[in-house]
Symmetry: C2
Amino acid sequence: MIEEILLFQIDKTSKVAKQYSQREFDRLGLNITVEQWILLKIVHESNHISQKELAEKSLRDPASITRTLDLLQKKELINRLPIPENRRQYNINLSKKGAAFVQKNMPIVDAHRKKSIEGLSEKDQQTLNNLLKRIQENMN
Amino acid sequence: MIEEILLFQIDKTSKVAKQYSQREFDRLGLNITVEQWILLKIVHESNHISQKELAEKSLRDPASITRTLDLLQKKELINRLPIPENRRQYNINLSKKGAAFVQKNMPIVDAHRKKSIEGLSEKDQQTLNNLLKRIQENMN
DNA sequence: CAGTATAAATTGATATATCAATAATTGATA
DNA sequence: TATCAATTATTGATATATCAATTTATACTG
């Protein structure tokens, strides 16, 4: 039975959480996807980052990053700044609008995170983290 | 930091495991995606199942199931059997070729599952399962 | 029985995932 | 320095995710 497989439950947990956040984003009319939010958050946490680094941090494909950044640029939430010394890559950063957007909605997303671990002790969280890390290493 | 968020690690674990299996599938020339395999496995486990039920069991959207079944049908791995008493739905089952395919490759996929939990005791696995279930409930 | 609601599958539109191929640039080296 | 290799981003092709709308069929209700 597929439900008994741990990897299936891991995937399910990820999906359920993502769907919850997406529904909330939609309900609040944020006009953004969870993947887009994650990129904004990473850009917010790093001043000046390349697309390659963004891909690594977000665990996504560079091709996918290109396309999502196109959307975020269309929404005027991020900028692609040319780097004179290296014309192969851009520095990605938040626009004013993007920074305000992240600022405003960070509490909402943080509430989702908190909700996800409701009832889990510090120790529970550490345990879970450790077990996940071990599975990740097994699959390397 | 996004790496410190449990949901991020959960998502990462799911991605890493899926990528591992997909690479193996590709390496062996199975010509199938992980999502397609999951559908085949569920169909294998249930004699006669509707697309709606398949969507529920696989945690996927009915629209997505339609498209993936189209591909599996093109590969002649599954059949859509019309139900005379209810012409709104089909019974999905494995073709001879599909049954042979599942039979042949089940050991491979099972090895991936085993690899993923290498070094985890029975108790570890139960703990992990419980923690995941609690997060799932939190996000409902 | 007619009209309406519900249900299952499909289709369309848009976003994401992934691999392969390509373009432009930079680095390495003979 | 000229050539070749490696790097970064982009594009194309195909599969999947999701929502809304549609189609076809069945169920319900007055």
